[in-house]
């Protein structure tokens, strides 16, 4: 357990905040699990799963939550968020692996999952019919290699996909097979038919800057959290924004802050009021707070192994760490005895 935990104030009673969050974690006995916790950080449900969890998706009516396995993922688990219990699980086809993230359609009838077509080395979005027990009903291209996070934009019609650019194959677990040939991109895809609406890549000198995590904030802008596969001492921007009409604009000029991130952004989230974006770096043990209106870095917060971040309340965020801390927006930091996985999904 992290040092200093003894000085933390004990958690508040469950129910003090109506908010609910879905995340993967590893329990103190080493068992991987999916967990629900409330806005004060109190764990209200835990369900064992076969391997590490990763990103979650919540249905528009907030009744159903899905947690995807960490890539290369072979399952996703389904939760009834009212009953706060697990109600099912489903798997990708044998020739696909989940990439760890997904999103529901605006009517809640379909679930979209980023997947790796590993034989062809291309990304796809798997389409699953919720009412039919998550039967896979189709797929379409992500127009890139190694897709990771995907979100449904606020227009309810457009999927934004981060194509990380890194090829992997289940025969070589987690090995990066194409670093010299990486071409990361951000793609906007029409959810109804898979039509590519826009696609932006990085300049050639930054072709090893893997676009992995995204959040929508302010004027249909997608904020990008990136990971650099080049030398550790080469200073590159690790945060940027994409807009359909403006392409990708990197947040330049914050080299001092980027130098503390160990070339690695693990998660991105926007506040509900759209005024703030937080990017976390578990390797650097840093959370950066960005002002959306000015695109300027507002603050840096040091927190060891921080990765999970989600909006809480109208302007704030809740953070989790691999060392067990839950830091709500306006409640005391809570030390739990579980290791929190990379992402939090607000219900």
């Amino acid at each position: 357990m992290a040092g200093g935990a003894a000085s933390l104030i004990p958690f508040r009673a469950a129910g003090a905040d109506e908010a609910l969050f879905l995340a993967g974690c590893r329990l103190s006995d080493g068992q991987d699990a999916a967990a629900l916790f409330d806005g004060a950080g109190a764990i209200v449900a835990v369900s064992p799963i076969d391997a590490r969890g990763h990103g979650g998706a919540v249905s528009p009516d907030r009744r159903v939550g899905v947690l995807f396995a960490r890539r290369p993922g072979q399952f996703a688990v389904v939760f009834d968020l009212n009953a706060r219990r697990r109600v099912g699980a489903f798997a990708p086809p044998a020739e696909r692996r989940f990439a760890g993230h997904g999103a529901f359609s605006s009517d809640g009838r379909l679930l979209y999952a980023t997947e790796n077509d590993f034989e062809a080395e291309r990304g796809v979005v798997g389409v699953y019919d919720v009412a039919a027990g998550y039967r896979r009903v189709g797929e379409f291209a992500t127009h890139g290699v190694g897709p990771h996070e995907m979100l449904l934009m606020r227009d309810g019609e457009t999927l934004a996909v981060a194509n990380g650019g890194i090829a992997t194959h289940p025969d070589f677990p987690r090995m990066k097979l194409n670093l010299p040939f990486m071409e990361p991109s951000l793609a906007l895809i029409r959810a109804s038919d898979g039509e590519l609406l826009a696609r932006a890549a990085l300049p050639e000198r930054l072709h090893k800057l893997s676009i992995r995590h995204i959040a929508e904030a302010g004027g249909a802008e997608i904020w990008l959290g990136m990971q650099f596969e080049g030398p550790p001492d080469e200073r590159v921007p690790l945060v940027g924004r994409f807009h359909r009409d403006r392409g990708i604009v990197l947040n330049e000029g914050w080299g001092g802050a980027y130098a503390r991130l160990d070339q690695y952004v693990g998660s991105v989230a926007a506040s509900r009021d759209g005024a703030t974006v937080v990017t976390t770096s578990p390797r650097g043990g840093m959370a950066l707070e960005w002002d959306v209106a000015t695109r300027r870095l507002r603050a840096e917060h040091r927190l060891a192994d921080v990765s999970g971040v989600a909006a809480q309340g109208s302007a704030g965020f809740i953070l989790t760490t691999g060392q067990g801390l839950i830091a709500p927006a306006d409640a005391p930091v809570l030390a739990t005895d579980v290791a929190w996985d990379n992402h939090i999904r607000a219900v």
Partner: protein, 352 residues
Amino acid sequence: MRILVAAVAVVFALPAAAQEKPFQPVVEALVREVLVPAYDAFAATAAEQAALTAALCEAPSQAALDAARGGFGALIGAFAGIEPYRFGPAARENRYERLFFWPDRRGRGLRQVQGIIGGEDDTAVGVESLANKSVAVQGLPALEFVLFGTGSDELATIGGFRCDYGATIAGAIAAVGEVMAAEWNAEFAGTMLNSGPDNDAYRSDAEALQDILQAAATQMELTGTQKLAAVVRYSPEAARPKRAAFWRSGQTLPMVSANVATVRSILEGGVGDLLEDDVSLRGALFELSQIDRALTPLLEDGRPFVELAVDPDAHRRLAFAVSPAAAAQALIAERIQGALGLVAGFNALDGD
């Protein structure tokens, strides 16, 4: 507005163990006595190989071809000495992949190398021109195909395009070896030895030592899972010897053996001085010796790897070597690094 007000109050640094240990002397010993000499040796061996290959092209003969092929074995051995280190000069300009683009799951390299030879693609001759081509056609696997692949016996009698391409590859490998050694000596050794808040690569000596130990652990994982387990699989019938690295030149197992030797040189480079209890270190060294025990008779066997991998007795030995490689990896990554407070965070894994 203080958005993350609660988090601000919590300030954590590295675990106490990582702050107290005197890592610097161990990093210094490893860099000066293990890493830099390995880069110097690779540069020298690669220069020799370039000379041998050029000599073959100038005056083709069976003796010259044998010398070039023999030199290739030495080159693989020297490469195994630097193979674990994907940081520093090796990470710049795709140098690591220029030397060793592997595993090449889609056969990018082989297809293109065959295409270059078959089509006598002149742009693959001349080091500068070759550097602009795919990394998969300018490294050790490409040179192996030129010297050992189908049609290579003709090199003993005809120089020609195939030989000129091979000499170019050998020259390109030597150039990469030279620049890496030069950068290590001139600059990167100093970077590793002078950690601090202004050092973009290493903020602490702990980070520098972590890079080296993690490289050793990752090498054992790669050697065990990709070079051995993925090749021998679950039975002699199921074995896929042509998935192995350098099966054409008979360097598959010598390279595994050299990987073991490199990891041993890291573990014996002073880490023990930092450990209160060296049981995990001795355990890791024992596992390395088990790999050697399994492979030694095969190294002396003389049959090509494609025959060895499907022979029941040899297969049993190859399959046996997988377990100690995994055990050594776990001991280094978890027990040794754990005892030193150098374990990566739960969420610090690649690409998530």
